[in-house]
Assembly symmetry: D2
Homo-oligomer: 464 residues x 4
Amino acid sequence: MGFDTVIRGARVVTSGVVSTCDIGITAGRIAALGTGLDAPEIIDATGLIAMPGGIDSHVHVSQPSGPGVEMADDFASATRAAACGGNTCVMPFCLPEDGQTLREAVAAYLAKAEGQCLTDVSFHLIVKSVDPVTLGQDLPALIAQGMTSFKVFMTYQGMRLTDAEILQVMAVAREQGALTLVHAENEDAIEFLRDKAERDGRIQPVHHARTRPIPVEREATHRATTLAEVADVPVMIVHVSNGAALEEIERAQARGVRVFAETCPQYITLTADDLDRAGFEGAKWVCSPPPRDTGEQAAIWAGLERGAFDVFSSDHCPFRFADPAGKDAPGARASFRNIPNGIPGVETRLPILFSEGVSKGRISLETFAALTATNHARIYGLESKGSIAVGKDADIVLWDPTLTRPITQDALHHGSDYTPWEGFEVTGWPVRTILRGQTVMLDGDPVGTATGQHIARAKPGVTP
Amino acid sequence: MGFDTVIRGARVVTSGVVSTCDIGITAGRIAALGTGLDAPEIIDATGLIAMPGGIDSHVHVSQPSGPGVEMADDFASATRAAACGGNTCVMPFCLPEDGQTLREAVAAYLAKAEGQCLTDVSFHLIVKSVDPVTLGQDLPALIAQGMTSFKVFMTYQGMRLTDAEILQVMAVAREQGALTLVHAENEDAIEFLRDKAERDGRIQPVHHARTRPIPVEREATHRATTLAEVADVPVMIVHVSNGAALEEIERAQARGVRVFAETCPQYITLTADDLDRAGFEGAKWVCSPPPRDTGEQAAIWAGLERGAFDVFSSDHCPFRFADPAGKDAPGARASFRNIPNGIPGVETRLPILFSEGVSKGRISLETFAALTATNHARIYGLESKGSIAVGKDADIVLWDPTLTRPITQDALHHGSDYTPWEGFEVTGWPVRTILRGQTVMLDGDPVGTATGQHIARAKPGVTP
Amino acid sequence: MGFDTVIRGARVVTSGVVSTCDIGITAGRIAALGTGLDAPEIIDATGLIAMPGGIDSHVHVSQPSGPGVEMADDFASATRAAACGGNTCVMPFCLPEDGQTLREAVAAYLAKAEGQCLTDVSFHLIVKSVDPVTLGQDLPALIAQGMTSFKVFMTYQGMRLTDAEILQVMAVAREQGALTLVHAENEDAIEFLRDKAERDGRIQPVHHARTRPIPVEREATHRATTLAEVADVPVMIVHVSNGAALEEIERAQARGVRVFAETCPQYITLTADDLDRAGFEGAKWVCSPPPRDTGEQAAIWAGLERGAFDVFSSDHCPFRFADPAGKDAPGARASFRNIPNGIPGVETRLPILFSEGVSKGRISLETFAALTATNHARIYGLESKGSIAVGKDADIVLWDPTLTRPITQDALHHGSDYTPWEGFEVTGWPVRTILRGQTVMLDGDPVGTATGQHIARAKPGVTP
Amino acid sequence: MGFDTVIRGARVVTSGVVSTCDIGITAGRIAALGTGLDAPEIIDATGLIAMPGGIDSHVHVSQPSGPGVEMADDFASATRAAACGGNTCVMPFCLPEDGQTLREAVAAYLAKAEGQCLTDVSFHLIVKSVDPVTLGQDLPALIAQGMTSFKVFMTYQGMRLTDAEILQVMAVAREQGALTLVHAENEDAIEFLRDKAERDGRIQPVHHARTRPIPVEREATHRATTLAEVADVPVMIVHVSNGAALEEIERAQARGVRVFAETCPQYITLTADDLDRAGFEGAKWVCSPPPRDTGEQAAIWAGLERGAFDVFSSDHCPFRFADPAGKDAPGARASFRNIPNGIPGVETRLPILFSEGVSKGRISLETFAALTATNHARIYGLESKGSIAVGKDADIVLWDPTLTRPITQDALHHGSDYTPWEGFEVTGWPVRTILRGQTVMLDGDPVGTATGQHIARAKPGVTP
């Protein structure tokens, strides 16, 4: 057993167990776990924690965002930020431009990512049209190529699908063994409230949150799980923001529906009050669903603690604040309706959960690994990833659990010009990210070349 | 790295991941996971599954059971059966005889177990009296010795504690960092129904089930979780038999109470109709809580599938059927009240769950490992056990997932003269059990000497 | 106090109390309650029960039902049947024909009813289009004329509204103080299941029930109550068929939404098995939502018993069975999809509830009065009706609680050629129906002339 | 029809309907409802509301309260206050002194009440011992005498019964057709918290509330409804203080258990903060269960609005504040444990509900009548009372809905030296109370002689 690299003496975490040992790496894969391993390259990890590389299964990169608006990250900057935040794989959504087929969109995305990525990437698809080509040809072909999951939207004009359309998509998912992700908010109800708010002159950023209240998410969540029940397929509800929506998910599970649930850092740390900051400042926190209040944060935490959530992602969707191509888009100050939705988060997801969860004693290291890597890999079919186990990709992140410093925009590497967590104190930071055996981040800075690849995935792992 | 033994080529399962590799064992511990490992002793496990040795955290052995009644298993036979059923560690309950202190009882138990055991053992305590010596001296001393969990009963005359007493025990658990297990059935309600049944001449075994209906378990479960809420401690609800009781557990979790839940093979495979067999035959299935019906089996399965249960144990509590010291105790035919409660199961727990769960596609191998070993080790503080990971005890069971044969009393090794699952078809059997590197079962038969030890445990692992 | 008529000696029931006394009637109104009252016309009601005349707030009469299909009842036959079944007022729905405005439809309906009715009538509106004329002009005008309630459909192609449209209608209801009724079934989900059933050759009547399963009603009920929550208006969920939908209603109430609930005789007496009768026979029971099973019947009964339902109506929607303009419409035998939806019931609603409810001891006389008359009057603003109280219309029905006979088509007066309850045994029948002081039914037969009027209503009574 | 008295022109309310008419009274009973009624005595009630006389089915009068402690009201002062507060009947609890049998206690109570009462009274029993005499002789005899309801306590040392004892009492209730009332709080849990509070020096009045938190009431409520489920009897849960306890009641109802629910003014108007007033002042608000917070008030209101409560009572249990025989009992300042539990409220119950409920538009007049009179009469078998209907006792209260003034101790007639609602503004006051045709309160002052009688009751009315 000659290794290329050995990581020595870390507390090695997988979703089920922590054990202190060496990790032997050969040809980018984990070749052995043991003690006294040796290799030309030795990484001394004494006192550190070796985690499976973070997988962020919910990020938006270079996604078409409306006329004149541009996302703050391309693949180079997004994966650079991801690597610096302790990730070795991100899963962006592939959204067709108007007039593009899904396969054309995928081709364009692959081209954009090619040679740019510091982490691996693997695409989800977005189905915004249920024409015969999309359902009958593109989806089966792309699933066969390893893009085995797709998202549908119940909100956003131009993207939302009707229930009938969602059922058609789910029928394809069932036939092909793919997984459907749902963004669950009732667009009609939002429009109703939004129109009323505008008529009443309530146009500031905070009204973004007030016109997307919990009932519109709860309703859509109940509906999405019912559609899955009717179509007899598993479903993933993304970015669950509150206890009532989570209750709908658990009620569906108790009825026997296989429902997976995701939540994000914004729902355990931010509130709607953040959108209510003076002037236009609140626009920095405009995302959907909006952050709620501390009571709902507690409900999400309780859910994390009792295992109600399968994955913890960022929903990274970055725009620049001081930028007419970003938050300050034309009309944005005249109505919250025109503020691009989304916040940057791929670089801060893991430190936030580590600090709030592990360092504060709410969750164990094993649960952290499950929520941030293992479950993503299992559910989305990333077979070579998500665990520190013999034969898996050597995607490993070393954490220093004692390192304390605040999140600051200055220290981040994403393309946005702000972070919603400016000044947020964090204990526990990743200090080295290793992608298939190669170090891509060291002590907070990106290193090495962009060797990230697009990963074709197996069928979703939906058996509990 | 010189190993004593290498297990070659199995699909190695931990609670979070499956990977095909070799396992190197040195001095009874797992020294390495890798490929191409070599050792004087090679166990070829190609085509087999290597699981962490089963931990059965709910068994009764040589326990005082009333005048003239004797359990069918002593430590020799119980651990022999356990090993043959794929277990490497069992957790019996230590119940003081009348007049004995808890510490005296533990000493007597340790003496009985000494040199008899084919698997490791680790004792839970039973608190049936809340006198100052028990609470103030014995519990702290025994917890310090590594018996970090104890059960209280809400049922059984002579064992049941009042709510006030349970709260006192929980206060000790809180102070000492131990875990309280609760048998949740409302004794008063059972007595009420039992007296009425007897007055009405309903005295056959099936009335054991009918006088312990779901509401008495649901009520006690709600109460137990509330007492834990009031005392601000985690709690384990053992042998949950039905959906309504499980719902109470999940409601308590949603309120933020840390509640763990256990279920057993009888609740996914047997029903109250089994107690209604002709003549006295039904006595074979008399246990508490009783098996329910197929609807409740489905509710328990749904719970297993959505992760609502932490551990799957046997509640092995064996009596002989054709024996006046067993099920046929004096008075047993005159009233179900006098039938000793309990069924044998330590040897059949794992094959039943493997067959019904893994082989039928309801749960994954990882979940099987978590439910039968990893979670028991984590929750009960068995730090050296429960996972196939470097540094852990080499407690490993090799499974042949293709082997199909029925459960039959003839093939079992427990002390009872029957099995409740006679003729139950099973696909997937353990073919070799390895305790700290030594094979103790091969191809269904016990081998080797009784090297099992009593294991002192760490504090319970109650962080999610 | 000179009375025109005195009803002597009945047990007089109102929703709150039963008292034995005389009822003095003058000029069509109740002038006094007392003892020893005298008048030229004395009706001896000793041994009988005097109930407020039944109000059936959910009936369909002469409603456009698609090309070539005709309802089995016009106003003459429907109100004749109603009177014979113990009703003094029915509330039909006014549905515009294609191309008709709502006001034109109302005018046409009033013309059809004029001079034909043996009971009073009062129209609900159906909103199937949300154009500016309907919302901005017709609804306000018709509400001002006393048609203060309207129904929206979440199912039926051509009638269903989107969530956005329902919210617009609810906004009008809020502004004008009217009440919105919702038929809650998810059309898209039904279509999905229906298409699949047809593709699979499952085309018999029973598949009507199987393609409208409980989840599609539960989902739409959750959604309807959420839309009411968002629009901040009360809402009435009509014809609730099962416990899951009822649970959604009660959850909404617990959130503070004012939700009223209606159920019907079919949901406490019929099952989906009725649709599974040999050949095309099952078509007789095709209605939406379909009857469920005995478990759901029990859930509806439990709801009636705990006061979860406000009104008990018939959803009378009669078609002839052996008729190409009825159930045997073109294509009906080729697919259940083409069978006209609905069953006759205006004549049997009250006897069924009296027999199953009062005679079997499940509900009291007062609750019967509330569910069949008083609550309808209060909620829908029929101020002069619904109670036997001084000043109210003398709408009184005398019941003989001892009379036992089965329901048979021979003895009915509706326009349909069958009854879904053929042979259903009933104890307790109305023996005299009095409309504003005039007897319109005696001993089961219609008497007198058609003096029924259209009643303009006050604003809905939505304060509990 | 010669009447003794006619009440002219009031809006006459029963639980189901409001109608403006005259009420003719003869020989203490309602003889007629009509118009133009005449009599020697005419009471002009134009502009007023005629309500059925209030029935307060939960009051404590002259009840043994521990050594040295005395209730502030005897029958004279309690019924004087009751009449001034719009009541015509109160239902005190008959609690045996130590050594007294239940029948002796009843005899003593009847003697105390004899000739003293300005309203009618009817006793509930308290079962604090389940000896054979009480269960086998006294209860059947007293039920036969018309005391058809009894309360059991799950709290209070010396009064609380075990589950086994409660089941025995419920078995008697079932056999005899009586109704069991339950005070649902878990005494053991309270003791646990109370002991801890005292050990920690938390001894002020507010800790009364903090050591009786919602979980102890929720738990006991779940248990009480389960015991009723096991014993197969109806049950009344008295003084429900919060939404979680109410949820348990509604869950039990959904399981088919017949559960009635009571709440009181303190749970919609007071909070635990009232107990936290400076110094010993908070003792004025010490009652059990304690008032909660505004969130729970809202939950109770939502329950009242959706019909979840059957009766609204006072739980009048008056002690003087500045009195060593009252709140300032020996030891009371050293620990909240020694403060007598209870607050005065018989005189303020109805104005508070009228003002907060009817005047603020939350509930209708009919619902007010149901909650304060009709349902009490029906459920507890007061057949001659509870409604303004021909043949009923002429127990009528005239309300002036426009009268606004605050509650002040100065204006009250009870024996206590304070009111918990000092300064609470009320719109809508009773201006005349008529007991069986005789005015006993006029314009806020008691009038007439003490003609109140003890009323024997029929079996409870438990059919919905």
